[in-house]
C-alpha cells in the first residue's frame, strides 16, 4: 500500500473524504436500523415464543407470557451460574404454569441449556434443549430435532410426570433405579438432563407460590 | 602402549571376498600394444602436454607438466613413441573424452636418469615441488595431489600421520598385498612424510582381517618408537579418511576442513610407497598395484603401468564369459566404466570384472518408508532419507541444509535400504546439479557486473557527448545572440524561438525514429526497447532455420513446430539493425 500521506494537503483531503464516506454510510445504516428495529424485536419475541409453544400449549393461558417474568440471580438448583429468567403463565389471573430456564452442567461434553414448563400442580408440561454440545449421533438425541424417534422423542418422557408421581428420590434413569429410559452408550447425556429436570421440579416445589406472587421487575 | 580405539557411527559389514585375490603375489603385466595416458588424472588443473606426436619418450619422462600448484605432473609409463596427443575416452562413468598422450612402447622400457633426493637436506617446499613433479597423488581413490596434503597445519607441527591400510571395500586387496610385500619401503616413505609434516607419531591403521599385512608392517616398524601399527575392527568404511582418523585418534574432521589443522593427516599406503619411490629412488609415479577380481578365473594383484587398457589387464586374470562391464574400484563405491578398453589411471585401485550373475541389477526401486536404516548405517551421521527426499524433489537448498556435501558417497545407505533406492545416485545427481548452479550463479554475477559496468561506461560516454553538444549549443546560442544583436530588430525572442524550434525538430525526429510500430502510450525508451527485442526475434528466427546455421543454433527443429517460424516473418535487415539499438546505447538522432 502506498503511504502517500506525507504531503499535509493530500492527507487532509483524504481525511475529509474518509470522514464523508463514514458519515454517509453510517447514516444509511442508522436509517435501516431504525426502520427494522420494530420488526426485529417482534421476530425475536416470536422465536422465543415458538419454543415455549412447544412445551406449553398456547391455549392454556391468556397473559402476555414474555412480559410476565422473574429475573433469577445465580440459582444452583437450576444450574444457573449467571442467572436466568422464569416466565409465568396465567389464565384469567390464575397461575397456570412456570416456564423455567435451567442448565444441566454435567453433560457429556459440557453444559446443556434447557427450558422446561412446569404446571402449577407440579407436573412437567414439556422440556426442550436450547443448546448443547453432546456428541452428534450419540448424545444429541436429547434434542428432539435430532432424535431418530420422531413420533415420541426421548425428551417427551418427562411430560405429565411430577416428582410426587414418581416418588421421592425416584426421578432417575432406569439404570440408576428410576423410571426413565435412555439410549445405551449415551447414558451421561440422559442422566444430566433427567437430573437437571428433577432438581428444577424440586426447586419449583420448594419455592411454592412465591414464584407466581413476586411482581415482574420493571 | 596400545592406542585406545574410538568408534565411528554407522557402517556396514558386507562379505569381503578378499581371499581369492590374496593367494598369489603381485604380478607384472606384459606391455600392451599402446598406452593411453590421460593428462587429467588428478584433482585440479589439467597438466599441460609436454610432448608432440612422433616424439620419442623414455620411461618416467614427463609428458604433462603440472598446471598450477593444484595439479600434478604425468609421466611416460614406458619408453616408446608418442603416436598422438588427442582426446580419448577416459576412465570415467560419463564416457567423456579427455586429452591423452598415446604411446606406442618400444619394448625397451628404458628409464630416464633417476635422481634420488636426500630429503633431510632439502627444504620442505622443494620436497613438495619434487613430489608434484613426480606426479604423486593420493592412490586411495581421491587422487588429490599429495604435496598439498603434506603441509603442516597451524603451528607448523602435526600430531599424527596416519597410514591408511584399512582397505575396507570388498574384493580390493592391493594395499594388503603391497603391505605384505613392501612393508619396509612403506615405512621408509612414512618417515619421509613424517619429516615433511613434522609429525610426532605415525599410526598405521589396518583392518583386523589382514593379519599378514599387520604382521609384515609390524616387523618393518619394529624398533621405531614413532610408528605404531594398529589393527582396527573390520567395518566398512573404516578406510574412509575421516572414519579412520576418528577410529585412531577420536578426532572428527569436518567436511571442508583440512585435517592438518586438526593435527592429523591421512595417506593411503600406496601413496606412501609412491613417495618412497619418488624421493629415495627418484622415480616418478608411473604404475600402481591394481586388484583384478570378480568374474575372472584367477583374481590377483598386478603392478600396472598407467595407460594400460583395462581389458588387457583383465586378460591376465583369465576373464570368464558373462562379463558385462568393468567397475573401477570396489562394489560399494566403484564406478562403472563406459568401455572395456579405458586406461588404468592413478585412481584405479581395482578393476572389478562384473557380470549380471555377480552383481545382479537391483530390485525395483520402492518409495522410501523412512525406516531410518540408512541413517543408522551412515558413517557421516547424516539423514540419508531426507537428503534423498529433497534431492528427488529438486529441492537442493534443503538438501544442503541437511548437509548433502558431508556425504562421502560410501554407499552404506543404499546398501541397507529395504526399498532398494539408489540413494547415492540421487546425491551425486544433486551435487553435480548444485555445482552447475553455482557455476551459473557465478557467471550471472560476473555478467551483471560487466553489464552494469558497460551501462555506466555508456552513460559516461553519453554524458560526454551531451556536454559536447551543450557546449556546441551554447556556442550556437552565443552566435545567434550575436547575430540578433547585430541584426537588431528581431528582438531577444527570436533566437530563443529558433532554439526551441530546433529542439522541437530534434524531438520530433527522435520520436519518429523511436516509434517504428504502433505501440501506444509507452515511454519512448520502452518503445525503443520493445522494438529492439521484437527486431531481434524477427532476425533471429530465419537464422535459426536457415540450413547454414542449423548446425549451430540448435538441434534440428521438428517439422510440427511451425508456429515458431510463423511468428517470425523475414524482415528487411535495416529494420532489424535499427531495432537492435539497445536501451543503453539508444542512438540519438545525431548519431544516425
Amino acid at each position: 500500500m502506498t503511504t502517500a500521506y506525507t504531503a499535509g494537503r493530500t492527507s487532509l483531503r483524504s481525511g475529509i473524504i474518509l470522514l464523508l464516506f463514514a458519515l454517509v454510510f453510517t447514516a444509511m445504516m442508522a436509517l435501516v436500523f431504525e426502520l427494522t428495529r420494530p420488526t426485529i424485536a417482534a421476530s425475536t419475541q416470536a422465536e422465543k415464543m415458538k419454543l415455549i409453544d412447544e412445551i406449553l400449549s398456547p391455549g392454556s393461558y391468556d397473559n402476555p407470557l414474555l412480559e410476565d417474568f422473574l429475573e433469577l440471580g445465580p440459582t444452583p438448583e437450576l444450574g444457573l451460574a449467571g442467572g436466568g429468567r422464569l416466565y409465568r403463565a396465567r389464565q384469567a389471573g390464575q397461575p397456570v404454569a412456570l416456564v423455567v430456564e435451567l442448565t444441566a452442567p454435567d453433560g457429556y461434553a459440557g453444559r446443556i441449556d434447557l427450558v422446561a414448563a412446569i404446571r402449577v400442580d407440579g407436573q412437567v408440561s414439556g422440556v426442550r434443549v436450547v443448546s448443547h454440545k453432546e456428541t452428534p449421533g450419540l448424545g444429541d438425541y436429547i434434542d428432539p430435532r435430532k432424535d431418530k424417534d420422531r413420533q415420541r422423542p426421548w425428551i417427551t418422557r418427562f411430560n405429565d410426570l411430577s416428582l410426587a408421581g414418581v416418588g421421592a428420590g425416584g426421578w432417575k434413569l432406569k439404570k440408576d433405579g428410576g423410571p426413565f429410559d435412555y439410549h445405551v452408550g449415551a447414558t451421561i447425556s440422559a442422566r444430566a438432563v433427567t437430573n437437571a429436570v428433577g432438581r428444577a421440579l424440586a426447586y419449583v416445589a420448594g419455592q411454592g407460590d412465591a414464584l407466581y406472587a413476586t411482581p415482574t421487575p420493571p | 602402549m596400545l592406542a585406545k580405539l574410538f568408534q565411528f557411527h554407522g557402517g556396514v559389514k558386507p562379505a569381503t571376498h578378499k581371499e581369492a585375490s590374496t593367494r598369489e603375489a603381485i604380478a607384472q603385466v606384459p606391455l600392451p600394444g599402446r598406452l593411453v595416458v590421460p593428462l587429467h588424472q588428478s584433482i585440479g588443473g589439467t597438466p599441460r602436454p609436454q610432448v608432440l606426436p612422433g616424439q620419442r619418450v623414455l620411461k618416467g619422462e614427463r609428458i604433462g607438466a603440472a598446471d598450477g600448484n593444484v595439479s600434478a605432473a604425468v609421466h611416460a609409463p614406458t619408453s616408446g613413441t608418442v603416436v598422438a596427443v588427442e582426446p580419448a575416452v577416459m576412465a570415467h562413468t560419463s564416457g567423456l573424452t579427455t586429452l591423452s598422450v598415446i604411446i606406442e612402447p618400444d619394448g625397451e622400457d628404458a628409464w630416464i636418469r633417476c635422481a634420488p633426493v636426500d630429503y633431510r637436506a632439502m627444504p620442505p617446499d622443494e620436497l613438495r615441488d619434487t613430489l608434484r613433479d613426480a606426479g604423486i597423488v593420493g592412490l586411495g581413490g581421491a587422487v588429490f595431489p599429495s604435496h598439498l596434503k603434506l603441509k603442516p597445519g597451524k603451528g607448523g607441527r602435526t600430531r599424527s600421520l596416519i597410514l591408511n591400510g584399512a582397505e575396507c571395500e570388498p574384493f580390493i586387496t592391493c594395499d594388503d598385498l603391497l603391505m605384505r610385500e613392501r612393508a619396509p619401503a612403506i615405512i621408509r616413505g612414512a618417515e619421509i612424510m613424517a619429516h615433511i609434516l613434522q609429525a610426532d607419531e605415525i599410526l598405521v591403521g589396518i583392518e583386523d582381517n589382514k593379519p599378514e599385512a599387520i604382521a609384515a608392517m609390524e616387523a618393518a616398524a619394529r624398533g621405531k618408537a614413532q610408528i605404531q601399527v594398529v589393527a582396527i575392527p573390520t567395518r566398512y568404511p573404516a578406510g574412509g579418511a575421516k572414519q579412520l582418523i576418528k577410529v585412531l585418534t577420536g578426532i572428527e574432521v569436518p567436511h571442508g576442513q583440512r585435517s592438518t589443522d586438526y593435527g592429523v593427516q591421512c595417506f593411503n599406503v600406496g601413496t606412501v610407497y609412491a613417495i618412497f619411490e619418488a624421493i629415495d629412488l627418484g622415480r616418478p609415479l608411473i604404475s600402481r598395484i591394481v586388484t583384478v577380481a570378480g568374474n575372472v578365473a584367477r583374481p590377483r594383484n598386478f603392478e600396472v603401468l598407467f595407460g594400460t587398457p583395462m581389458d588387457h589387464l583383465a586378460a591376465q586374470a583369465g576373464p570368464q564369459p558373462g562379463t558385462d562391464r568393468y567397475i573401477m574400484g570396489g562394489p560399494m563405491m566403484g564406478y562403472p566404466m563406459p568401455a572395456f578398453d579405458v586406461p588404468v589411471v592413478k585412481a584405479t585401485n581395482c578393476v572389478l570384472v562384473a557380470s549380471p550373475a555377480l552383481f545382479p541389477p537391483p530390485p525395483p526401486e520402492m518409495p522410501c518408508i523412512r525406516c531410518g536404516e540408512c541413517a543408522q548405517a551412515c558413517p557421516a551421521d547424516l539423514a540419508p532419507f531426507e537428503l534423498y527426499w529433497f534431492s528427488r524433489a529438486h529441492n537442493f537448498g534443503k538438501a544442503q541444509e541437511y548437509h548433502l556435501f558431508d556425504c562421502i558417497e560410501c554407499g552404506c545407505c543404499a546398501y541397507v535400504c529395504p526399498s532398494h533406492i539408489p540413494l547415492v545416485d540421487y546425491y551425486r545427481f544433486a551435487k553435480t546439479e548444485i555445482w552447475a548452479r553455482e557455476r551459473e550463479k557465478d557467471a550471472a554475477d560476473q555478467a551483471r557486473e560487466r553489464f552494469e559496468f558497460r551501462n555506466l561506461r555508456q552513460d559516461l560516454e553519453k554524458k560526454e557527448k551531451a556536454e559536447k553538444l551543450a557546449a556546441k549549443a551554447a556556442e550556437t546560442k552565443a552566435k545567434l545572440a550575436q547575430e540578433a544583436q547585430s541584426g537588431g530588430d528581431g528582438g531577444a525572442d527570436d533566437p530563443k524561438k529558433a532554439l526551441i524550434a530546433a529542439a522541437l525538430e530534434r524531438a520530433r525526429a527522435q520520436k519518429a525514429q523511436a516509434e517504428p510500430k504502433n505501440t501506444d502510450n509507452l515511454a519512448p525508451a520502452t518503445q525503443a526497447e520493445i522494438a529492439a527485442i521484437e527486431a531481434r526475434r524477427t532476425v533471429l528466427s530465419p537464422h535459426a532455420d536457415s540450413p547454414g546455421s542449423a548446425g549451430f543454433a540448435q538441434p534440428a527443429r521438428s517439422p510440427g513446430d511451425e508456429q515458431w517460424t510463423a511468428n517470425a516473418p523475414l524482415s528487411p535487415p535495416d529494420e532489424a539493425e535499427s531495432g537492435l539499438v539497445r536501451p543503453g546505447s539508444a542512438r540519438s538522432p545525431e548519431d544516425a
Binding site: T2, A4, S14, I17, F21, M29, T44 | S558, G560, D561
Partner: protein, 225 residues
C-alpha cells in the same frame, strides 16, 4: 460485444477464478456453513447479494475514492452494506437469520468481497463490476451448494433439512433411508476440508481433461529431442 464481455467476466467468476476452488478466498463461510444444503445455498445467495451490491456501489463511487485511502473506504462501504443486509435478514427472514448466525457479519471480512472490489470494481464500470460480483457469488454459491449437498447427504442421508424453516410445510428429502447410519465426520469440520479438497481435485481433473481434449491453439513448443 458487451454481452460477450459480461459472459466472459461471469464465466471467469464461476469457473476460471472460482473463489472456493481456485482463489481459495472466502473459505471460512464456505467450510463452516456448508453443513447442509439449505444453509449453504442461503449463504451463497446472501453473498451474491452483497457482492453485487458492493461491486455496483464501489464501481459507481470509484472515481471519488482517493487511491491511498481506498482500503478503509472499501471496508467501510462493505461493512455498511453487510450490516444493512444483516439487519434486513434479521427483520424479514428471521428463520434464516438464525441459521446463518455469526456468518452474515463475517461476509464483511470474507476476503473475496474485498479482493474483488480491489481487483475489479475499483477499476471497472458499475455494470461489469456487478456482473463480476454476481459471477463470483454464483461461483461461490455453486461450491457451497455442492459441498453442502454432499456433506448433508453423507452425514445424515438427507437433503434440504431445515427447508421447513424457510418454506413452511415443506419436508426434507430422506434419500438414503431412515436406517442410514450418518457418516458424521462429513458434517464436522474435517469433513468440510476433505470434501472441499476433493472438489478442488475434481475441478483440476475436469480442467486438465478439457485441456487435453481441446486442440490447443498454441501447441506447446516441441522440445528439441
Amino acid at each position: 460485444m458487451d454481452i460477450a464481455r459480461y459472459r466472459e467476466i461471469f464465466w471467469n467468476g464461476v469457473w476460471k477464478q472460482n473463489t472456493g476452488l481456485v482463489q481459495l478466498l472466502g473459505l471460512c463461510p464456505i467450510l463452516a456453513i456448508s453443513t447442509n444444503l439449505v444453509n449453504a445455498v442461503s449463504l451463497g445467495l446472501a453473498t451474491i447479494l452483497v457482492m453485487a451490491m458492493t461491486g455496483l456501489v464501489i464501481a459507481a463511487l470509484r472515481n471519488f475514492i482517493p487511491y491511498e485511502i481506498r482500503i478503509p473506504v472499501f471496508i467501510l462501504i462493505i461493512a455498511a452494506l453487510v450490516t444493512v443486509v444483516d439487519l434486513a435478514f434479521n427483520a424479514w427472514l428471521h428463520g434464516l437469520y438464525l441459521v446463518l448466525g455469526i456468518f452474515i457479519p463475517l461476509i464483511v471480512t470474507n476476503c473475496i468481497v474485498l479482493a474483488r472490489v480491489e481487483a475489479f470494481a475499483a477499476k471497472n464500470e458499475p455494470i461489469a463490476s456487478t456482473v463480476d460480483g454476481i459471477g463470483m457469488g454464483v461461483g461461490l454459491l455453486l461450491v457451497l451448494a455442492v459441498l453442502g449437498g454432499l456433506r448433508e447427504l453423507l452425514g445424515s442421508g438427507t437433503l434440504l433439512t431445515g427447508i421447513d424453516l424457510i418454506f413452511e410445510g415443506t419436508q426434507p428429502l430422506v434419500l438414503l433411508g431412515q436406517d442410514y447410519p450418518g457418516f458424521l465426520t462429513a458434517i464436522l469440520p474435517p469433513g468440510a476440508f476433505i470434501t472441499l479438497g476433493c472438489l478442488i481435485a475434481a475441478r483440476n481433473w475436469l480442467d486438465s481433461r478439457a485441456a487435453a481434449r481441446r486442440p490447443s491453439p498454441r501447441p506447446p513448443q516441441a522440445q528439441p529431442a
